[in-house]
Each structure stands twice: as C-alpha cells, then as structure tokens.
C-alpha cells in the first residue's frame, strides 16, 4: 500500500484524541478556565472505558463509562477553580498526577499488569479497507458531530453566549446576571466529556488500556487551542497536523530504521516550533483565569 494510502486514514484515526481534547479545551478556556488537566482526562476516560467494557462485556457501556469518568474529572476541576478558587494550574497538575498514578494503580490492582489491560472487543466490526473503516467508525463520526455541535453551541445558544461572556469579561457577565461560576463548571464538565471522547477513542483504537497511553496528547491539544486562538474548527485542523506527525512517525518506524525516540519527539518539537508563531496574548479570552469579583 502507498504511504499516502496508509498515512491519511492513520492521521484521521490518530487525530481523534487530539481533536477532541482540543475541542474540549476550547470550551473550557472560552469560559475562562485554564485546563492543563486534559491529559489526565484522556487517561482517566481511556481507563474507565476499558475497565467498564471488560466488566460488563459491553463496549457501548464502556464508551458511556469513559465519558462519565472524564466528565467527573472536569466537574472536579471546574468546582475547584470556579467555586473554590483554587489556582487552575495547581488543580490541573494534581489531576494529571492523580490520573497518571491512579490508572497505573488500578491497572495493577485489577488487571495485575503494569503495562496494559486485557483486550476489549471492538465497538463494531466494520468491513472494508482502512479508509472506510476509519470514516465509518462510530467514535470518529461522533467526534465530527461533536465538533460541529460545539461550534454551533458556542455561537448560537444562550449557554454559548454565557460561556463566551464568562471567559471574556467575568465581571461584566456577573454584573448582567450570568451565573459565571455555574457556567464555568458546566463548560469545564462538558469540555471534559468531549475530551473524554478522545480518550475513549484512544483505547478502542488500541483495543486495550496501556499505561500512560495519552502520551502527552492532552498537552499538545492545549497548545493547539492556544495556536488556534481559541477557535474550535481551527484547533481541530491543527490537531490533524499534529496527528499526521504521529501517523508519519508510525509509518516511518515500520518502513525505515530511524530511531523511534526521534519519531516520537516529532509532535512535541512541532508544538515548540509553532509556539514561536503565537502572537503575544492576542485574542485570548480576556477573563482567562480571572474571577467575577
């Protein structure tokens, strides 16, 4: 098969965790909450979906469990920052540490392995080549739909307006009767559910949970959020770019003798390089990290 023929579907497949983490990140940050805990949400949801799928023998329940677990982590972050005024970075760091340690703890406790879980069944068995299988994957489709819905919600609905107002000017939003705290908690929770969809896709893609399987995608997604200047569609496009580097790395690793360490660094180096193109503070939600009073 041609390189292109494998890189393109591979890219689409691998972009789901990045893109959903970024979409979720946009929703969090547009409401004014910095969320470096996306990485932890990815891990938690990956693990929860696998654990539940194995426990119930139902892949669908696995998906649901992943989304719920991700949402729960988001709810925690939202309450800690918006309601209890804990520094968002501190809370995010704690979430990432807890997710990394907690998933490994449970992996060993439940599955007796420090590297990976047993295999889970596929969500659906799809016919056809890599292209059709990728495009028809329910999680992929759900992701596409979520991004479209997110864009519409942000621009067209009361909730979206409240989110943007809370993120742009929490003081004004509060003065006008927007419940900034509630809006933010809701936004972070829903954003984390979106991100969790990425985590679920990650484990269903690998048919198992692997220790540390999010591999920094949550952080890269956060960089994509910033580079996109907090626009969901552009963030997703940027994520496609990062995912293509992942895919390229995979393909090159199978076909060449380049050291895997060099290939695995690609998305991170690309992110660092892209940070040179961030215009200073431009167009960030002005109320990012600020409270209403």
């Amino acid at each position: 098969m041609s390189i292109l023929g494998s890189v393109v579907p591979e890219t689409l497949r691998m972009s789901v965790p990045y893109a959903m983490a970024a979409a979720g990140g946009v929703l969090c940050e547009r409401s004014g909450v910095v969320n470096i805990g996306l990485e932890g949400v990815l891990l938690t949801s990956s693990f929860a979906s696998v654990a539940c799928a194995l426990a119930t023998h139902s892949p669908v329940l696995g998906v649901v469990a992943g989304l719920v677990a991700g949402g729960a982590v988001g709810l925690l972050h939202g309450v800690l920052f918006a309601r209890l005024r804990v520094n968002a970075i501190v809370s995010g760091v704690a979430i990432n540490i807890a997710a990394a340690g907690g998933t490994r703890f449970l992996l060993r406790g439940w599955f007796g392995s420090s590297s990976n879980s047993p295999s889970i069944p596929a969500l659906v068995e799809l016919p056809g080549g890599p292209f059709t299988r990728t495009l028809l994957d329910p999680l992929f489709l759900l992701s596409v739909v979520s991004v479209v819905v997110l864009t519409l919600v942000l621009s067209r609905t009361r909730f979206g307006l409240d989110v943007r107002a809370s993120g742009e000017d929490p003081v004004a939003a509060h003065a006008l009767g927007v419940d900034v705290v509630r809006t933010r908690i809701l936004a972070v929770t829903l954003g984390s559910v979106l991100c969790a969809l990425g985590g679920v896709a990650l484990s269903y893609d690998q048919h198992q949970f692997q220790s540390g399987m999010s591999g920094g995608r949550g952080f890269i997604a956060l960089a994509a959020v910033i580079l996109s200047r907090w626009r969901p569609a552009l963030a997703v496009v940027l994520c496609l770019g990062f995912a293509s580097l992942d895919a390229l790395g995979n393909v090159l690793q199978n076909s060449t003798h380049l050291p895997p360490d060099a290939l695995s660094m690609l998305p991170f180096v690309a992110t660092l390089v892209s940070l040179f193109f961030v215009k200073r503070g431009q167009l960030a939600p002005e109320g990012l990290g600020k409270h209403a009073d």
Partner: protein, 351 residues
Amino acid sequence: MPATHPGARVLLGVLVACIAFEVMVFLYGESPREMLTLLYEGTWGSVLGVGQVLYKATPLFITALAVDFGLRAGLFNIGTEGQLAIASLAVAVAGAHLGMMPGAVGTVILLAVAVVSGALYAALPALLKVRFGAHEVISTIMMNRVADGLVGLALGAGLALPGTVQTTPLAPQLTLTKLEAWVPGLSGSSVSTAVFIAALVGIAYWVLVSRSRFGREVTFVGWNPVACAHERIPVARRTVQALLLSGAIAGLASSATVLGAKGYFEQGLGAGAGFSGLAVALIARRNIPSMLFVALLFGTLQQGGLFINGHVPKEAMEVLFAVVIVAVALTDSPSVLALLTRRRARAGAPS
C-alpha cells in the same frame, strides 16, 4: 491575602496523606493497620529506612526549590523533569571524561555542569515566554517530552555502553561518598553526601530569596510586574533569569542520583523527581522548612510505597500526592476559609 500558617499546611498535608492512605488501603481490601506498620517499618522504623527516605527526599527538595523560584517570578516551571534529565545526562557524560581529575575539583566541575545544562535547557521556554508570549506551562511540558526523546536518542547514539541503556560509570573519586561509609546501619542505602549539598542549596536559596537584591527583585516582579516596570526594574530580564536559575537548581538534583547513588546515568534515573518537586513546592508555598518537611513526607511515601508494593500497588502513593496538593490548596480557598471562619464565628457567638 488570607494565608494559612506554613506549619499548619505541612501538618494538614501529613494528616491528609495518612487518612487518604488508610482509606485507599481499606478500599483496596488490605488491613490499614498492617499497611501502616509496614510503611513505618520500611521508612522511619530502621536506620536503613531513614537513609532511603533521605535519599528519595533529596532530589525532591532540590527540585521543589527550583519550582519555587519560578513561582516567585510568577512562572510555573513544569519543566524541572526535563531539566533534571538533561542535566543528569550531561553530568554523567562529562564525568566520564574527567577520569583523572582529583575528586573535589572534579565534583565541583560536575555540579557546575549540572547547573549550566539545567539552565540551558530552560532557555528556550524563557525565550518563548518573553519574546513570543508563549506560556511557560505549555513550553516546559513540551520540553519534558523532548528531553525524554533526546535522552533516548543520545543513549542510543553511543553515549550508553554497548548493549545497555547506561552511561560509562564515573571514576570513584568523582562520585559523592555514600553515608554508609560512616554509619554502618546505612549499609545498602543510596543516601550520600548529596544530602549535605541539598542542605547547602537550601541555605543558599534562603539567602537568595530573602537577602539578595536579585532574589527580592524577582519576587517583586512575580507579584506585580507592572509596578516593577514603572520603577525601572528590568522585568523581562528578571523573568528570563528566574527561569534559567530555576532550571539550574533543578539540574543540581542530579547530585543525589547520578553523583550520589549510581555513579552513572541511565534512562529513567531520577524520573518523577521533577513532578514530585512541583507538588512539594505547590504544597509548601514559599516556605523553605515546609519544603524540607513535605519532601520528607513524599520521600517517605515513595520509599514506603516500595514496602507495601507486594500488597498494594505503590502507584497509590502518587494519588496521595495529588490528594495532598488539592487538600492543602483548599486551605487558601476564600470560600473554604469563609466557611471555616463563619463556623468559628457561629460557635463563638452567644446563643
């Protein structure tokens, strides 16, 4: 600004860690009492245990100081992990080339290598921050991942001994003396004179932040950069310098691992010390003695984790770290404080 007493924060941290530990152990189906006994025996219950706790706590204390200095300048240096990895590699490689050097001179040179390499690895995030406005949290996290790759690449490209992932061992006179040489009970422990280096770093750090002009200016810049700029303190320069120095201090943590414990570097040596140091700094909040105690607490949990590992996976300890971070951070939360004071006021009011 409501602030909780530093000692109270530490005590709360210990208390929360104990309670959370017992709850986790219980939920896991083991006996909380037995596990606590096991934890104690493996740590403070024996001379060897104490040595190992000290060994584990040493890099945590140093990286906590590193993170703390960043925080003073208003920077979240999440990159201590990568700065330490690169510095460790650099120290090991440099040390392998210093074979003939007399011990004391050689060790000082190697510490200098650690400082310089740690600082250099923080330079890119510093540049990105002041020149391009890129948030240091993102860039330092990326730098950690890149450091992982770089270390792997370097070891794979010939810096490691053929067929292994470790570098050429340093000549014995270049490494730090293990304390077992003086205290027989410590035999087998990795604790070394690096603990004294850490103590010196701690004292120097205290002088830096409370007595030196540079340290105070960095602190002022972290608190109010606009006012500092209006008073013609060079804000951007202080920010860059702070992040570089933070990286430099992080590099010094390699004294405990490469110079103290192993005498060489291998992939993963010292891994996690950066993140744990971050946790220590966030809990101790600018108070150096607190950093020491919290580093000891985390060292205890890490070391104790090894002892209970047969019953309860040691990763439980990382979850404890996170719980302690959040619990202590909550003591600064205005809503939590309001709740506490309101209750106290109500309790004190005549009925």
